[in-house]
Symmetry: C2
Subunit: 881 residues, 2 copies
């Protein structure tokens, strides 16, 4: 005892495989060894790792233009090897997304122009005009809703909440498929083409992610591409940045916004990827506009031309702060309203039932109401109803002051600005009507089941609110505030920029909207007002409501972990022991099948802890519920019953049958999608690496008793940290079905029900053989003292959904996402009461819990002393310090 | 077996303390319980948690203006409770740092003006002018170096590498103290005041962090402030953002830059804090300039006035790309040069020995050389030597084109621009000379042992390089490139902006320099060129050299973890089993003291794994080396020898002595800095919470045999996840010293050396009693299959420096930072060879390792089967599937 362990374990292993020697060398000097190994492998590369290629080469070289073909092959191989590189992937992703974004913008612009053209062409008859104005969007939205519903209902909505969940490590089915991609792109184009107050940002994040997933699958056809969960998540994070970046031509803002809305912890190395892809994408997006002669050169999407020398006065800052605070309240109200509308629609059973039957009625109805209200000759004249979203923004960011100081005719409303003027009203009333109407319209429109986001509508409302404040300021201080000789008039357009950033920041709980507006307008001169307003808006909104995306996550009941707010000191003082579940079921190493059955009946946990014994409670690993079920069903399977029966009755025949059963197992296993031989299906992929190619890799020199273990080990292939759930589920089912068929076929059931029952009882009393089960050998462990803050950090960092709490190897409890969520919400919602950390006052001497540790350790120690070396159990009196 | 565990453990605990009941309630319904508890505690708040206050209140209320004072006290208490809030802290931090930054800028400007004034005043005599020009900076730099050396040598250099290390969780001593703060502020002011090519950005990150640490300590005097490691790290991260933000008045760039240079994984919730503090700080910093009448309103630091309508042509992009790529090479060269200079200075033993004696000679010498070369009437006339760094930047970002197209007299060099003109030279030569000279000067100057950064000098060089390319382009295309009717001339200032961002991005390996230049210049119109250049520069520089900060980290041998580059697929395929150390020493639960001694002699590991037994190898926890040493020295302590002696000789006296020994222990423990009663020293702090205040908290109803455990538990108080190393070290030492004194005092040694030896041998044969040792009950565990990529992620996420590798509870190896570093560098440095993942080709069928798992599990299972239930060891033949 107390010696070296490596010698022992190495000795065990040396008997089994050759690799052990390499491990030894490897740990000695990794750097040099790696280089040697690499050089050796490079030398061999032509032949050993890819056994099929040489033969191909051989064939070609025998032909006439052999050298040519060899060269072409080598080029091809070089290209293929490069295809897997990250930067190729990111460039392709950027390119594709820029094209998609540009094409969609083009299609949307065409749709909107068609509506304008119809509306303009029918100006002889108001009723016809109205019909055209209303029918056109209704048809488009209804088509969008129907198309999405039929093709892929997952494409509905923003997509950012789902991406947030996916990036946390949760697998959402069908969210990243080609079908959803098509549904989202076409649905979104139609929805935005209708002119409803909907946005394209959120859906673009989703589209970019789907694009990345599809591209990665496509590139993997060419091989050289390591499919890996961690890498996929990194690529998805970059894709989110691309989505925002190419939607607004805002690479920096895109990266930051996507980080803020989708991540809790962000790997700085991904940042790079995001920047690269988003910049490339934004570049291509804007270059397309130049090539299409829309623009002379690459500029911002909503370029402003505010003066540079004196953008704003210091004394205007309070007005900007007011915009920020009001936007904070407004943003919270928007989120609240949006949620209430969804909940109302769900709760009203009669409406609901009616709408469920006629799914397309709700979108059509909402579109009808909104487009009726914006009809320009009708109510729309009071709210600039004829402007599209883009035109509205352009006019709101306009450089001029609309409300003139006394001289009302000094300024001509030119071009699209005309829409804001009304002979019997003034600009303030128009703006207020616009804000109020658009506010509820946007909140309502974003609940329509079509692919749509809320960012852009909110952005427009914010800009209008900012403009309102700006115009008021301009009316209040006609000659500006500055006291020096120069007159610097107030620029209401600057206020509009500030308002847009503040309100969109408040709704999404992000600060990066500030960066987005700089990139959108191409001016950064208002940086301080924008930052102040955005921060104030965030502070207000975050203390009132969750972000729009978190709100949707809650509505959709996606698995989530709430953020820790700031200023909540309790979280540092609540500990795991306060929130953990102590009453958990577990599996012991020496338990019987009956115990497994009991455990399965008494708990719904997806992962069961495996402990050494009920006395020691030493945690050995965790085992999935499905695995326990498989163990049990395997033990009670008719197949085994058959075997027993056979063994009892036909003792000489038994040998043959058990042979066939082994062969049969191999069969089952190949059919249940084992990863061992996928080469047959994918000829392009150099998956041959996966086939045992060197002698060291093949199963150890075959003796009869090894075969069983080898087979099992194939089933256990996924004991790694990232198990694929699909396999775990697929295997027992496939096997069971097969077995029952085989059994019925060959034998028929020769046992009576009573006999079966008896046999099953007997089987249940046997000890469990875990060797065929998939065990996670290192489930995540926490200690009782770990603070809530740290637990939250670890859970969100590693994307855990449960962790076991241990004390010196002993299992004492478990914390899952549910407990953590409860604990955080418990400490967050109790705002009014100012929740004190429960039990915090009792804890500081830490005498209690540590004592428990000590006692536990002593127990363990005592047990060992008595078990292993009773001869040495000396007098307890001499070590009493 | 297989039942509920909570009932058992609860039964054990219920005997010991009352709290157990609460745990039960708590887990049932945490939310409501928390609220109840909070309400109850609020009711009690006046009296129980702060037992001293009520008596004070009582005294006051007895006086005349009692109500008044009660009110004042309540106000005070309210303020104190608010002081701990994050936002108060962040506002204070922002305010202080803005003041520091502004004051330093003011002092630096004064210093530089004094030099200019001296230089200008002495223009009658060139020699005197030269003396003044050279002496002034030499004196300042020498003073700065000497002052820093004497007060706090930790203040030398940038500080970003150290902050990166600290934010990784490593404790660097003396890096965040008041002394270092003073040394850094004064040293930096003098260094920058000398006009050497040094920067203030890096040191400002350090200054802000020190400011945060000091502020947090200061605020904790007022209480209401939970001191917590996690919180401190969060605050330090925010402080880094403030440092950059208030240095450049660039809040967004500051936040991003600080994230990129200090973090590997970034918590998005910190982002918020950083933005808040940095914005506030930048705001105050700029407002101070307005109040000081330096500026009319808040604008950018280096405001540019490029035209907005057509910032650049699409066809200029290749030129920007060239700037990016060249900057990438330049940046790598700068890092290389800087490192070589440091290494050269270290290697030259004779120079070194001489310089070590006269520490101030090196700074003086370097300053002398650099200032001689920049002397304006001398060589300085060819490199605009008379301009300060700030003036240089202002001129380089100038809006006009310097190299005129044919008409050389069309443009007048006005004001400070004059410096760039030379009658016998042209602007291209001047710029080239400037770039070349400044390049090596900056690389040399930043090795001087004064507080200084390299960002600003590099930024200036980059701007000059960009200007050079811009002027060349302007000379090449005198009428611009655009083919339409409008003539848009090329703007060389825009090239300077691009160059500055690209070169500083290349040296620091950051993308956020792009954002910093936008904020510095107040214009974002060149966003695409800047982004393209920065990304290309990064791509080139990252593939050639580490970042400047990582380079310094390596030179200084700080504990670090290299970044995973991108495009290295190997990292997904190298696994923990390839890099882990298998041959590790461990401590078993049933080992003897002799084994401990052996382990201590045979390994240098700081943390030793504690396993159940050498056969089972089940990992129970880890124990620090110092703890093992303490156990051993305690066992062999003269004190225990004494006790034995006493027990043998004076059996009736022994009782009294052991009593006194217990009393003595209590004494030792109080003196060794236990956290139990700090209230005596800090009267302002409501540390009384820490003292047992409610009956439930006091040690369980005192019986004699509990005392020992309680005492031990006090020593074990830090078994929590964040042990404070200082205590662990302090305790055994203090105790040992005390004991030997006491022993000598009372008894003198009555044993002969031979007897002592015999006694010690006897003692070493006893079983170890771990109950007094501090054991980390949940050290971090990895599995053999964990990929290098994931391991890196986990290590950098959680700031680990070692992790044990387990397989179904069994310890099989260990990975420390060293192995990980080796593995990453092994796969990174072998660039030319394109290192293949060693052993990757053997692994894919995963048969081998899993088999080992299965075998191990089977062993464990067999052992249990035989040990615990030999009655059931049925025939192994019937479960062979």
């Amino acid at each position: 005892s107390g010696g070296t362990m490596a010698s022992e374990s190495e000795a065990q292993r040396a008997l089994q495989y050759e690799q052990t020697l390499m491990y030894g060398r490897y740990t000695q000097d990794l750097g040099t060894f790696a280089k040697d190994e690499a050089a050796r492998l490079r030398l061999q590369e032509g032949d050993t790792p890819r056994p099929r290629r040489p033969s191909e080469l051989l064939e070609y070289t025998q032909g006439r233009c052999g050298p040519c073909r060899v060269c072409a092959l080598q080029c091809q191989r070089f290209l293929i090897s490069k295809v897997g590189e990250d930067w190729v992937f990111l460039i392709l992703l950027g390119l594709v997304m820029a094209l998609v974004s540009w094409a969609m913008d083009f299609a949307i612009a065409t749709c909107l122009q068609a509506q304008k053209w119809m509306y303009g062409g029918l100006d002889t008859n108001v009723l016809l005009q109205y019909m055209a104005w209303v029918t056109y969007p209704t048809v488009l939205i209804t088509f969008s809703a129907g198309f999405t519903q039929i093709l892929a209902p997952q494409a509905v909505g923003s997509g950012i909440p789902e991406m947030k969940t996916i990036l946390r490590g949760v697998v959402l089915k069908e969210y990243l498929t080609l079908k959803t991609f098509v549904a989202k792109v076409i649905g979104l184009t139609c929805a935005l083409g209708s002119g409803m107050p909907l946005g394209k940002e959120g859906p673009f994040v989703h589209i970019a992610s789907m694009c990345a997933a599809l591209l990665s699958r496509f590139l993997s056809l060419f091989g050289g591409f390591y499919e890996n969960e961690a890498r996929n998540i990194e690529m998805l994070a970059a894709a989110c940045a691309v989505g925002v970046g190419c939607c607004f031509a805002a690479p920096i803002g895109g990266v930051l916004f996507s980080i803020e809305v989708t991540s809790t912890f962000f790997a700085v190395r991904n940042y790079w990827r995001g920047f690269f892809a988003a910049t490339f994408s934004a570049f291509i997006f804007r270059v397309l506009a130049v090539w299409n002669k829309d623009e002379e050169t690459i500029t911002a999407l909503f370029k402003t031309r505010f003066r540079l020398d004196f953008p704003f006065d210091l004394q205007e800052l309070p007005a900007f702060a007011v915009i920020g605070i009001a936007s904070g309240f407004g943003g919270a109200l928007f989120v609240y309203l949006n949620r209430k509308i969804v909940q109302f629609m769900r709760r009203q059973k009669t409406i609901n039932r009616f709408l469920m039957k006629k799914r397309l009625l709700f979108p059509a109805l909402v579109t009808l109401i909104i487009s009726t209200l914006t009809f320009p000759p009708g109510f729309g004249q009071f709210m600039a109803g004829q402007l599209t979203q883009k035109d509205t923004l352009v006019t709101l960011f306009d450089n001029q002051t609309w409300a003139k100081q006394g001289l009302s005719d000094e300024f001509e409303y030119l071009g699209i600005l005309e829409a804001w003027r009304h002979p019997r009203s003034n600009i303030f009333i128009t703006l207020v009507v616009f804000i109020v109407m658009k506010f509820w319209m946007s909140a309502l429109a974003t609940t329509i089941p079509v692919p749509c986001g809320a960012f852009m509508p909110v952005f427009v409302i914010g800009a209008a609110f900012g403009r309102l404040v700006g115009e008021s300021m301009a009316a209040w201080f006609p000659d500006g505030i500055h006291t020096d000789s120069n007159i610097y008039r107030i620029v209401p357009g600057g206020y509009a920029v500030v308002g847009a950033a503040a309100l969109s920041g408040a709704v999404t709980h992000t600060v990066s909207t500030a960066v987005i507006v700089f990139e959108l307008t191409g001016q950064i001169s208002h940086i301080l007002p924008v930052m102040i307003a955005v921060i104030l808006a965030n502070a207000v909104a975050q203390s009132l409501q969750p972000s729009l995306y978190d709100s949707i996550i809650r509505i959709k009941k996606l698995p989530y972990l709430p953020e820790l707010g700031w200023g909540h000191h309790e979280k540092y003082n609540v500990r795991v022991e306060d929130i953990m579940v102590r009453d958990i079921r577990y599996v012991t190493l020496n338990c019987k099948y009956r115990d497994l059955q009991q455990v399965l009946h008494s708990t719904k946990m997806k992962n069961l802890p495996l402990v050494e014994s009920a006395e020691s409670m030493i945690l050995l690993g965790s085992i999935e519920r499905t695995q326990v079920g498989a163990l049990l069903s395997n033990q009670l399977s008719p197949h085994r019953r058959l075997l027993t029966l056979r063994q009892k009755v036909l003792s000489e025949d038994g040998h043959r049958l058990s042979d066939s059963s082994i062969r049969f197992q191999i069969n089952t296993e190949t059919s249940s999608g084992s990863p061992a031989r996928p080469a047959l299906r994918k000829p392009l992929k150099p998956a041959l690496k996966r086939v045992p190619s060197s002698p060291a890799d093949s199963p150890p020199a075959g003796t009869a008793d090894h075969t069983g273990i080898a087979l099992k080990s194939l089933f256990c292939a996924n004991t790694s940290a990232e198990p694929t759930e699909a396999q775990a589920v697929a295997y027992p089912k496939a096997k069971r079905v097969r077995i029952s068929i085989v059994e019925e076929m060959i034998l028929g059931d020769k046992m009576t029900p009573a006999e079966i029952l008896e046999w099953e009882e007997q089987q249940l009393d046997q000890l469990v053989d875990f060797s065929s089960a998939k065990i996670d050998p290192a489930p995540f462990q926490l200690v009782e003292h770990t603070s809530l803050h740290k637990t939250h950090t670890i859970f969100s960092l590693l994307g855990l959904d449960h962790a076991f709490v241990t004390s010196i190897g002993r299992l004492v409890g478990m914390v899952s996402l549910k407990e953590l969520r409860k604990a955080i919400e418990g400490s967050l919602t109790g705002k009014g009461v100012k929740v004190r950390p429960p039990l915090a006052s009792f804890r500081d001497s830490t005498a209690s819990t540590t004592e428990a540790d000590t006692t536990a350790l002593r127990q363990l120690w005592d047990r060992h002393q008595h078990h292993h070396m009773p001869r040495e159990a000396g007098p307890g009196g001499d070590d009493d310090d």
